[in-house]
Symmetry: C2
Subunit: 374 residues, 2 copies
Amino acid sequence: MTPSASTAAALPALDVAGRIDHLRALFPEAGIDALFVTRLVNIRYLTGFTGSAGLLLVGPDEVLFVTDGRYKDQSADQLAAAGVPARIEISGTEQKRIVHDAAQATGYGRVGLEAHGVTWSQQRGFASEWFPAAELVATEGLVEGLRRVKDPGEVARIRAACGIADTAFANVAGHLADRPTELEFGLELEFEMRRLGASAMSFEPIVAAGPNGAKPHARPSDRRIGPGELLVLDFGCIVDGYCSDMTRTVSVGDPGPEARRMYEVVLESQQAGRDAVRQGVEAAAVDKACRDVIAEAGWADAFLHGTGHGVGLEIHEDPRVSATGRGTLAAGYVVTVEPGVYLTGIGGVRIEDTVVVTPDGCDVLTASPKDLVL
Amino acid sequence: MTPSASTAAALPALDVAGRIDHLRALFPEAGIDALFVTRLVNIRYLTGFTGSAGLLLVGPDEVLFVTDGRYKDQSADQLAAAGVPARIEISGTEQKRIVHDAAQATGYGRVGLEAHGVTWSQQRGFASEWFPAAELVATEGLVEGLRRVKDPGEVARIRAACGIADTAFANVAGHLADRPTELEFGLELEFEMRRLGASAMSFEPIVAAGPNGAKPHARPSDRRIGPGELLVLDFGCIVDGYCSDMTRTVSVGDPGPEARRMYEVVLESQQAGRDAVRQGVEAAAVDKACRDVIAEAGWADAFLHGTGHGVGLEIHEDPRVSATGRGTLAAGYVVTVEPGVYLTGIGGVRIEDTVVVTPDGCDVLTASPKDLVL
């Protein structure tokens, strides 16, 4: 086995140091003096800290990081390695007082709080006890917005996760001939990704055969995967915090003319979507490129979801690539392109790649072949 | 492989039907007319619904369940099987209007909202758009309080999860002689639990050898597990939604006199804790029973955490079994008893069982042997 720690050690360093300044540049428009970052994934992005508990108060000139005794050495090491000049305070019981005193001392008037990242219960406590002298401002997606553009170190991690998924699929695909159940094959795929160094799955693999494939979010069942059935496989894994995402649809033996036609249409749609991706294009235009091909084939109503989403530290992140997705794609965004056709009682076809947006188009990070018949 | 769906099918039915009435009985003291349940784990407990998206509005006489098209059939089947008489509405885009109209029609004045279960962002939307005519009341732990007492079907699931963990450990323990790394052995343990029918892990297994064992929440590393080292193994799995939790400390070969003494003290402490568990006893008294044994040995400061916690649909739930834990244990509570001693630079010993509280004592659900030396 190749443990994940070794995989991570071979990856290029992340470019963490400048991220807090990029965040600060957003403060004026957000109308805040400071941001109290509570979402761990955002703390990881801003500081390099990978522990399971921490709080980050980013002011205009100072940064306070608070965690508990479990992470004393780790937080000092990781923030130093990332070049983040924060004051680190370690406490299990005095975190409220530490943050309160820091906010009082600096006199922040308006403190941003990630409205999607705190519970209502937490917000009530923060308002009354942690920041009694400040006005808490609900912010949405400030750090998440920064996270859309991936630096080379981030792309390398997503690429590594995609590579593990590709290799795992190649290693276990032959077992489909033995008619495993969906659950059995899902476990094989997962175990193989873990053996190859993934620290975890990006999400529970989707292994949906025959009619189950008509449900875009089916969960693996005891159903045996039969010959000539469309089989939707949607899976991904995590390397050093970063996710991969890929879908392939296959069949053991010929699935018949209607399924072949579904496959050809979705393959063409997915290629059209990839061809549409480039810096400056509207996210909605990529969705339209996919959707037009499927509509022309008469299956507009059978494409039940958006075309894609951003991928990074989270499996679903900004931007959305859908008919209602706003904004344009920028170089360095990592997004999925995953059109599908789902026919109730018959089955589904979905084909998905994870790609990096470039000035001229995109780099495709998922490399598994797109052959329908195994 | 024995897939998890088969395991679940062999378990006795859960006693779901009466839970909503038990919840309603709490409304007067909470000062609410209705509760808007957003935590999925609580919705599962109250209705039997196991999907990944749903909302539940419980009024004095009526129940509204809302989910999206993916769960049309599943929600109807599961609520009917559980005997929950709810109005089910299916919509992807109209959920706000459906809930709004239901609340308007019934005229709820005070609607409880799970303050730990919604984000601040959600609460703001619910207040202004979903329930504009009602006062939203922050509730804490209403459903979680009910969930403390497990019915026989719930205990059977936890027992099944504990049994899988026991079997998996017995099956892979022999491989420790081959000096695997912590990561490798953690993967083996996990794969074996999954092969035996667990749907997932309760948490990432802790496999902490030598000095790593001195950190109660260490994560598995590339470190090889050497002979004569204390090895802390803390792991559990999920069967039909219910978690197990167990810790064993072992050594391949004799770990020496100090480690043996640590082990004997923790073993005695854990036995004292189990002996203290029975219906009506203070949770804090169980903690004290464990702590006194360790203090007498001179290691009071080396027992770095509380004695235990409730286990059920979540790996950590009410009650807390600690020095500051309030309240008494009731029959049907399922809790862990897990004292430990951690000596920096040397290692750790923790021994943990999951037990069901009974009128006279407790039933121990985790059955792996407690032999230090393998």
